[in-house]
Symmetry: C2
Amino acid sequence: MPDFAGGRSALSLLPVDADLAPLPDVDHQRVVFEDGMLLDCGTVLAPMAVAYRTYGRLNADRSNAVLVCHALTGDQYVAETHPVTGREGWWKGVVGPGDPVDTSRFFVICANVLGGCMGSTGPREEMTDPATGRGLGRPWGTDFPHVTIRDMVRAQAKLVEHLGIKRLLAVVGGSMGGMQALEWAATYPERVFACAPIATAAHHSAQNIAFDEVGRAAIHSDPAWKGGRYWEDGSVPAQGLSVARMVAHITYLSEAALTRKFGRRLQGAKALTFLEDVFQVESYLRHQGSTFVRRFDANSYLTITRAMDYFDLAAEHGGELSTAFQNTATRFLLASFSSDWLFPTEESREVVRALNKAAANVSFVEIASDKGHDAFLLDEPEFRQTLAGFLRGAAEKLGV
Amino acid sequence: MPDFAGGRSALSLLPVDADLAPLPDVDHQRVVFEDGMLLDCGTVLAPMAVAYRTYGRLNADRSNAVLVCHALTGDQYVAETHPVTGREGWWKGVVGPGDPVDTSRFFVICANVLGGCMGSTGPREEMTDPATGRGLGRPWGTDFPHVTIRDMVRAQAKLVEHLGIKRLLAVVGGSMGGMQALEWAATYPERVFACAPIATAAHHSAQNIAFDEVGRAAIHSDPAWKGGRYWEDGSVPAQGLSVARMVAHITYLSEAALTRKFGRRLQGAKALTFLEDVFQVESYLRHQGSTFVRRFDANSYLTITRAMDYFDLAAEHGGELSTAFQNTATRFLLASFSSDWLFPTEESREVVRALNKAAANVSFVEIASDKGHDAFLLDEPEFRQTLAGFLRGAAEKLGV
């Protein structure tokens, strides 16, 4: 077995505003590609680091690797305690020993996306001189080039090659992770035996772009953002990023989930009073906003939401989605959740129709759930069973 | 006929940031109640001004008056060119000569809500000393007391009394205007012959409260808000108010309306580029946000959204909505729009069920529309015909 530990980050997280508790300084496991990579925007990013985590053991013929792709604000710590927040892995119950993505059977890889802020090259990492590849002693910030979902996938492909894996047993991801899974199947069909895009779409809807734009406007309008140069004095555009997180968080929940969680219950009061912060839902959202800024970089948020907004798999293939999957041998599982209004079932069906048109092997399930988009991260037994069965079937087919 | 012109505002609009074109200085038609009014929060607001406009002629027996209640960011200029923005009346096609609320047949009254910023007493108006009633030479700002939907309705009732009208032929309103219509019927049943609450609900949902909270957080986090004291140096929390407007605007539209208007069409570009502001929907939202700050006061926005969030007609009546309408003789028309996800049809049905339980005279229609919540303001022939028929029927019953 090769040494998969890779290089270690030299850059620490940037200092955080005095009002916020400092984040622990973390050296993320990563591999650095000195020759870098050509991005869709035409820029060569060199060197390029990909931070990642692996779980389980790669088998002798290297046929049991499953790549998990994370969503907008996720990262590579999918199945372990997060080194920054101290919280459990973000896909608990889905990735782990005995779980659908079974780390006692599969070799599971999860990488921080390009443009992210947990060790992969992104706005928070040290900017390099394109001519010499040498560090410039300052973060990329808003000078970080625009990246696409396809760029993220190409960077992961380099990691997978680095790990000596020719074909992935499966690529699995939800939300923006599902976009990456679709992009994997379209860009590297011969390297993806099975593909499970969950709660996702082949393009971002006008409404989703609009909500992202509100988040970006909130960050841009925070004077602490300083035109993206907040890293110069170690400040954090906490207010703007917090508002962005609040609005996004609402879109992750269904009305039923919000009502069940909070309804109109008042925060510590028996009757209507006129104090601020009186509704529990407000208090909850403010908490969501303020904890988020402790772990996420504002310029990364801008970079990644923009990548999601630009994602349009059909447009990459002459405007016809089925062309993206022409002659594919990959087997697909699409899953949506009935109360998800960010990535509604109809958008999964659109992908299924394209796959059918391409005569692909595809199964599709809409999971009944009232938990909204968040359902893909939560305890949904039917989803877990469906995904487990799909991966088991793929593994058996390959004799893993 | 009495002189309905009322007093004129002594306070002009507050100065606007140098970056924004100055607003025209407008003297709104208004009546000032020197004795003021006791608010739900226990404060007496004295004096209290109500700015209003009327259209058409009050008939001899004063039986043809229709009160129109405006929504969150509306005002009294329902059926004429707006003196500040120069745009046409906000309910064009619904209120006017020959329209459903027919100004050639009815005497139509529309008042700026208490807490508003078009001449009624609110955060932008001159603060008064509660003991002496004398002006303090500064605006109320965040010292303006909390107001409720019921307070808004009580203030309108004082106006209606002032106009010498004992009973309204009808109260009509959409969105927050519908909340006021419901509150009118519950608080003054003997003064409302017919009531048409449109695209509304008897309480604000958890999701709606959450979206409002995002808007308020955006305003609070704008340093130019200055804890609500932006009027001191004539600045405007334009960024925060603009973000608040952007997020609210998304909730007014359906996904279909957004897609039809903009889809993923690019702003002045044939292919994907990486310029900022590249999607038309983003450009549109930014425009919505920036024009809004020219006409609306941030502290009013905070005051009025808070009133909407507190609105809970059942809670005002022991937790049982039907009690609000017990023994009512008012006839009701409820209307919702099929793609409205801010005030979905189910929330109108909840009111209809309560009215049925109270044995009220009620009809209900869900208008098929893909225009979202905004549909109530737009050209929807079926809605217009339904409302016209309802008001004509009420008028004939009263021999108007």
